[in-house]
Amino acid sequence: MYLIQLGIGLSCFWLLLSGFWSNTLLLLLGLVSTLLSLYISWRIRRQYRLFSDWSLILRFPAYLRWLLVEVYKANIAVVKNIWFPKDYPISPTVKRLPMSQKSKLGKTIYANSITLTPGTVSFDFKDDGVLVHAIVEEAVVELQDGEMDQRVSKLEQVK
């Protein structure tokens, strides 16, 4: 069932991106690449079941909008650190942060969001927590407040 949904999705995606709907060779190549992607994702899914809830996609845009603003703010902060090291000195910090997400996907989204935001990088997982390296101490404090953590938990909504 999952593979059928994914197959339809991938085919539509390919048709949308290619724009050539009448050339047999190109359509065949599209079919081959779709099947290849299906095979790879089937193999990954056998090992590591990550994704099961399609409703997450509907909740995702709102989170993305919030994340965009956060990324923008973090960018400005790091740019200041680069150009004015005297006024905005760096204070690298390593800290373990707890994660409240239940699913693998939620944890992945959280860790990826941390890494996407400049100034903080997640680099290891230990005892249900994530190890974070931050370029300024305040960035870690802000993450500890847990707004991003809560937003991701709300996003995943495991029953």
Binding site: L16, L17, G19, V71, Y72, N75, V78, V79, N81, I82, W83, P85, I90, S91, P92, T93, V94, A111, N112, S113, T115, L116, T117, P118, G119, T120, V121, S122, F123, D124, L131, H133, I135, E137
Partner: protein, 108 residues
């Protein structure tokens, strides 16, 4: 006229951010902090370039493709920097941290 102007603004902002990222990459003291400088280049800098190009493309299929490129970039670039930092951490490169400024750089 207005779209061209917006393109100019976004592309210039993207260039400035790219140069900033490169400068930070050279001036920051240790490996881990340099990763942060590089992450400017692949988040906001890339976004600025893509948005600048979107204003040139107008409402067409190209716009959607550009936004898909940006989304993929934003998913894959944290993954790669996570892999990079994790590899350094596993190999035993210690982070220079606030407080003990001279512990960084060497292998533990």
């Amino acid at each position: 006229m207005v779209p061209d102007l917006l393109t100019w603004i976004f592309l210039l902002a993207g260039s400035v951010l790219g140069i900033t990222g490169a400068w930070g990459l050279m001036t920051f003291p240790d490996f881990y902090s340099r990763v942060h400088a590089a992450s400017i280049t692949d988040t906001l800098c890339a976004a600025c370039f893509i948005f600048g190009l979107v204003f040139q493309a107008g409402w067409s299929l190209v716009t959607i493709k550009l936004l898909i490129v940006l989304t993929l970039l934003w998913i894959t670039s944290p993954t790669s920097s996570h892999a990079l930092v994790r590899a350094a951490y596993r190999a035993g490169l210690r982070a220079m941290t606030h407080g003990n400024k001279h512990s960084g750089g060497g292998r533990s």
